[in-house]
Each structure stands twice: as C-alpha cells, then as structure tokens.
Symmetry: C2
Subunit: 489 residues, 2 copies
Amino acid sequence: MPTSEQFRALFEPRGVVVAGASSHPGKFGFVSLHNLLAAGYAGKVFATNLNGEEILGVQTVPSILDLPEGEVDLAFVCTPAATNAQLLRDCAARGIRAAFLTSAGYGEAGEEGKRAETELVALAEELGILVAGPNGQGVVSTPVDLCAQIVAPNPPPGRIGVASQSGNFVSSFMNLGVQTGIGFSRGVSAGNAAMVNVADYLEFYGDDDATAVGLAYVEGLTDGRAFLERLRRVAERKPVVLLKGGATSGGQRAAASHTGSLATDDRVFDGACRQAGVTRAATVEEAFEAAATFATQPLPKGNRVVVLTTAGGWGVVTADALARTSLELVELPEDLLAQIDTKLPPRWSRNNPVDLAGGETRDTIPEVMEMVASHPDVDAVIYLGLGIQSNQAKLMRNGRFYPDHGLERIVEYHERQDRRFAEAAAEISDRTGKPILTATELATADPDNPGPAAVRASGRLCYPSSNRAVTALDHMWRYARYRARRDLA
Amino acid sequence: MPTSEQFRALFEPRGVVVAGASSHPGKFGFVSLHNLLAAGYAGKVFATNLNGEEILGVQTVPSILDLPEGEVDLAFVCTPAATNAQLLRDCAARGIRAAFLTSAGYGEAGEEGKRAETELVALAEELGILVAGPNGQGVVSTPVDLCAQIVAPNPPPGRIGVASQSGNFVSSFMNLGVQTGIGFSRGVSAGNAAMVNVADYLEFYGDDDATAVGLAYVEGLTDGRAFLERLRRVAERKPVVLLKGGATSGGQRAAASHTGSLATDDRVFDGACRQAGVTRAATVEEAFEAAATFATQPLPKGNRVVVLTTAGGWGVVTADALARTSLELVELPEDLLAQIDTKLPPRWSRNNPVDLAGGETRDTIPEVMEMVASHPDVDAVIYLGLGIQSNQAKLMRNGRFYPDHGLERIVEYHERQDRRFAEAAAEISDRTGKPILTATELATADPDNPGPAAVRASGRLCYPSSNRAVTALDHMWRYARYRARRDLA
C-alpha cells in the first residue's frame, strides 16, 4: 500500500518529468508532454530525450540525472520496458517519489513480461517509488491542472475521483464530464495495476478532501471479498460507484483477453456490493450519472418523491419508472394539495405526478416547486418539462420572421422563464437540503437550450431522461439508507 | 376508420388554413401559423381571424367560407370548442377533408366536454371530415414540409412515422431526431383521439410509402387485444415500435389523470406484443433508437454478432450486454481468425470481441471490418472505439501549440481516419446487407467529433453507448425472426 506522501507525488506533484519525450506528434512521448503543457499544469515541466532536442518549447535533457534535485515529484514514463529499471533508480536519485508508466511489455505480454513486472515492483518498493501502471493511459488531477495522459480529454474540475482498470473508461467518464459540466478531482488509469490497484486509489480518494465520490471500473478481481471489504471502509465515508465488466461468461472471456482477469460469481458479488454500501451501476452512463448525482445533489433523507411536470406523458412514464425502484411516488398530503390548488386552475392532476396541464402562468413553476420541496412529507423532487418553451423559441429565433411581429419579446420571455425554472430548482434544493433532479431529452438533444444550459450553469446534472434521473435518485436513496443504518449501528 | 383520401388530406394537403389565427405571439393561433410558414410548407397557406388582420404576411379572412373552393384540404383549428361545429360545416362547404383540432374543452374536461366530443365526432362523420385531436399539439409531414404544430421542433425528413397519445412524446422523439439526424416521414399528436386513434394512424403508416417504421406511444387502451390485433397486421409489413405508459399502478393512476386511460395487465400486454411482432421499448430513448435502427440498418439474417473494438473495456461490457439478449457473441471461425492474424500483431485478442489492442495501422480497421462483415458465419457487427483519435486531435487543435510542431498534419490524419472508419461501416453494411452499428459516448458528448459526425452524415445512428446498440440490434433480430416465422407460415 503506497503512502499518502507517494499519492501526493502522483496527484499533486511539484514538478513533472516526461521520460522519453518525442518530437514525433504520433508518439506517446509527444502526446503526453503536449497534454501536460496544454492543460496548463501549475508546476514545473521537464522532459528527457536521448538527443536532447527541444520539444514544444521544453529543452529536454538526456537523463533524469540531469534534472535538478528536489524539483520533480512525478515521472511520466514513455520509455521501453527494458530501460525502466535504470530509469527508476535515476528517479530515486533525484527524489522522485511517483512514476506513471505507459510502457507496454509487462504483465499483459506473456511470461517474460510478467517476470519484468514483478522485478519492476520489487525495485520500486526498494526505492520507495509509487509505480502507477504500467501499460496505463495516464493520470489527471484538476486541483493542480495536471493532465498527464496519452489520450483526451482534459476534464473539467469537480469532485469525482476515478480509478479504472480500463483506460478507455477513464476517457469515457471524462467525456461525459465535458458534456455535462460535472467534473473530476482526480482520475487514473490503473493499467496493469502492478503495484497500485483500483482499491488503493479508492482508499486514497476516501481520505482526499478534493474528492466527494469515488467512481471505479474493474473487470475482475483475484479476491473480490477483500476488494469489497476495502471499498466498504471507503463507502462509510463517501459514496463509491462501481462498474464491473465480466459479469457474464462472454464478458469474462473478453476480460481474460483484455486484462487477464479472473471470473467472479456475479450474483454473489452483487449482494456483497450491497452489503458494503457500494453503489453498483449497470452501464457506463448509469455509473457516471450516479457519481455526478452524488457529487452535486444533497442525499435524500427519505424515499418520498414528488414528480412535478408540465409534460403529462413524461409524468406517466416517470411514475412507472419509480414503481420499479425503492423510491415511493408519495400520495400528495391534503395540505399540499390545497396549497397547489391556490396556484392552478382546477384541471391540474391533483395527484402525484403534479401535472400542471398547461395551467401555469409566469410564476407557477417556481412557486409550486417551492411548496412541494418545502413540505415535510416530501424528500425529493423530479422536475420535468424544462426547455419546452425555449425549444419553440428557437424555431422562432431561427425562422424568417424574427425579430418582428413581437417575436423578439416572446423569445426572450420563453428563454428567461426556462433559465429561471432551472435556477429555481438549484436554489430551492440548496435551501431545503433536498435533491431536485431536472430531466429533459433536450439535455443531449439541444444542450444550448436555455433550460438545460442553466441547469449546467447551476452545477447540477440535467438528466437526459426521467428514467435516468429516477435510477440516479434510487442509487442515492439506497446509499443514504446504508449510511443511516451504519450511523445507528 | 378514416379513408386513405382523408389521411392524404391530413398528411399531404394541397393547402392549409389556420382557423383562429392570432397576432399575439403567445397564442396557439400565432405559433401554429408561424411554424407552418417557417418550415416552408409546400402548399398554399390561409388563415381566418374575426378582425381580418394581416398576420405574418398572411391576409386573414373572417370565415372559412371566404376561402376559395377546392384549394384547401386541411384546417388547423385553434378556435374555442363552442364554435367548432359551425367551423366544421364551413370546412365541408369548402371541400376541406381533414381538421386538426388543438382546441381543449372536450373529453378531457368532464361530462360536458365528453358530450361535446361525441357530438363533434358525429358531425365530422356526417360531413366526411377526418378530425384529428381535439386537444392535440399538431401534425408533421416532411414530404410536403408540413409542420402544423403549436410546439417545436420541426424534425428532419426521414422514414419514421410517429403517432402518440401524448403530444410531448411527439416532440421528444423529434428532438432526438434533430440531435441524431435520423428523421421522420409523418408525426401526429393524437390528442383525445376522439375520431382517429393511434392504431388508425399506424395502419395508415403501414400503407404509406414514405414511412419505413411506425413509432407509437400509448398510455392505456379500452381494448388492448383489438389494438394489438390491428398492430399485428401492420407489423406483418413494417416494424412497429411501441412505448406504453401506465405499466405500473403508479403509472396507471398518472395516466388516468392525464388521458383518462384504463388499466391493462402489463405482463399479458407484453406477451401479446411479442406474439403480434410489435417491438415494445422500455423507455423513450430505447423506443427512438429502435425505430431509428429499423429505419437505417438492414434486418439481420441471424443472431451471430462480432464486436470489433479498439477500446478493450468497452469490448468487455458489450460482451456482458450481449449475453443478456437473444443475440450471440459468436465464436470466431478459424478461417476468420487466420485472416485477421494477417493484419495484426500477435497481441490482439484472437477472440470475440475482436480487440485490436492498439495494434492497428492506417488501414487495419476498414480491412478487419470488411473481413468480419463478409464472413458467412457473421450476421451483424458492433463497432466500438470510433472518435478516440479525433478526441485527442481536438485537444491538439484547441491547444496553444497548434498548428506548429507537426500538429496540423497529425490532427488532420486522426480526423480523416475517424471519418474513414465511419464511412467504411456504412459502406460495408450496404454492400454486405448486414447491420453494422457504431457506438461511442462521443455521439452525445461531442457530436462534432469527426467520427460520430461522419456516422451521422452517412445517415446512420451513432449509438451513445454499446449497451444501447446491443438493445437496438436485439429488437431488430427479434423482429427479423418474427418476420421469418410469419413468412414460413
């Protein structure tokens, strides 16, 4: 288990050296240096190259030993496996405490590679260096603008900490982060996880103030029980969201070729996750959205949900979705019904979902949302129908009659209203301490629509469908219940 | 049951009159006229208004009777319920054969409204006018650029025909169409479905050359058996995708307030759908994607799927997803293995998923895709990893070193490659007659990435995750099997 000082060297280095930098823009040794510099990393950047070329404005040196003492904490290694033992020794000589290895030719490459990997780990332990990887895609840490990766993207800052056995999924999660604006504190591709595995990273995130929620992908585990026991201790402090590949025999065969992972009994694993308070997601999207929800919404104190909608059909399918979870589509209390009656003409649903049925005027949505969220018998709100007005406004704005015929004024009104509804959802959630989740297909279909755009600006996730909001909220409630039980015990 | 001539009047009118046009941009009578004109409807546009104002350049007339005889087929009605009986008589007098009624105050509005609705239908039948709605949001027909709706969007042209008990879902499906580029032939919000219901529209779509697949939302049915019997006859000719709200008791209560729908036993209904060859989707996204797949991919002739990936983790979770369907992650035939061996270094997976493991060079992906799709033991391909190169290229393009240091050239290379892979998928699918589905989160996370953008330009759907591609392909295979059984019988 690496020390917290070593993890600091990996995630908050004072300086970074790219070992094996290249002037060829197709090589890892170029791309990683590029991404590091382009992301505006806060510390000093060095690079080694046998020819001592200048690359991207950095004057490279032939050897790590040519670097100043004590200015570099992290080596980002793009050199061939055969040279890495000497490299680690040189790193130790210069006070470098962490190395991220992209190099292939280790555990993934047959018996010889496995031997090389064992030797590498033994040497790293002897030298006191944390080795991340090998065969990994890189490491990201937004508090210091560190993007030391051979791949895109550079994610927005935020509070999700990612660790993954598959480098692709670090990228996929972060692409979803770029899309939604929900960002990351740290991210690391564990590669072969020779010395540091996914559970190690999650334990670090558990103690890391920059991280509010852990998000992990694993394919297979030599000891699933021990893995979950470690995650259980993290989940006592912070939510942990887990996506697991290789849940079926087809997936296990694929995982065996991909990361050489062993099979686990999926139903046993699933039950153990629940007991450990670990949020297990079924898909990449679900995993990201669960983590994004934990990172941006307060935990619900109960499971009583009200659906507030201006779109009747969406209300109906959301009621269906809720019925398949541990959440309750709560019966509207009499006093809340009476309150809402004062704001709407009699044709509203008088039922949960609260379907405004087109009866709303300028202030109805924020007012009714406030009534609903403030009621003591309501624990969470799902709000549907945002952006419909602005969607029509867009047809007007782009049509051939704009801005005449009163179109400019009505377009601005519609857009202002949708922004206001989104802001009300965030503001009322903050004030009541209750989750309010906003869902519309416009979140992906037209992210520039002022409704979803304002949700994004408020720092919340705009869910692309109510089903997905329901799933995310259900994960929150399950975790909240787990935490409450733990705290009682 | 309306006649095909009446349906032609609704979907391909020679001229349209907006009855009850308004100069106030917040009123339905303005919005519908605006949308009709802004979408560039091919036929003549008229409008009535009691004051005879000019609205959006259209000189209104006080009455339908002031219109020329035989130039108008469709009335789009925004007048109050009380005036509509006389309006229909006037329509009949001018040879108008279809009316879309947005007017509320009918079946959704208590006993009195129900009576008014019954009378309206009786009158329409007597006059030989098809009445769509009332209380509906409108009708769209892209072959004639008709967008007669009180809501957005105006969808792109395509081959999906939509009919929905909820107007919101017409908009939601079409918003997804705008996003993905997969378009619509026709779309209609059935409203109260007083005279024409969802099954009627689907039967019309069944005979409609412009429509390749029907897509419907229903909430509840007075006679589910009769409904599915009618859909069965459509499904014998074309795929029909159905989303049903009110599947649970919570949803049924919500549906009762929304459209006054009756409860159905969901398990019985589900089995009946399968027997009728109707593709039932669980969510709005799944319904749209199933329809979009039917509209753009050839039907598979069997269930043997190969996953081709440059992203190992995605390969694993896709194998898991396939294991939960009727599709088979087929074992790679020896001759195909041997063929792929000629194109890749030995570290590739030698297994299905075909994980290229970074061993690909310039031409590998199209070449291997061709080998896989051409093999007689393969019925369909799922292709993963598109856009990863261009995603890194984007970091380079937007970084501070571009275009120097060789960045311009490498960026163009990456982007050209991703475009090429997307085009190869469409081209090889066309040539082999087998479905090839491309999935990447970049489809939504960065739609302008040249990979997903080229999929879109090829007229195919780029699936936002492999799970969603698997679900869509599974729907295709179930329908193909149904059709094959029917054709044998």
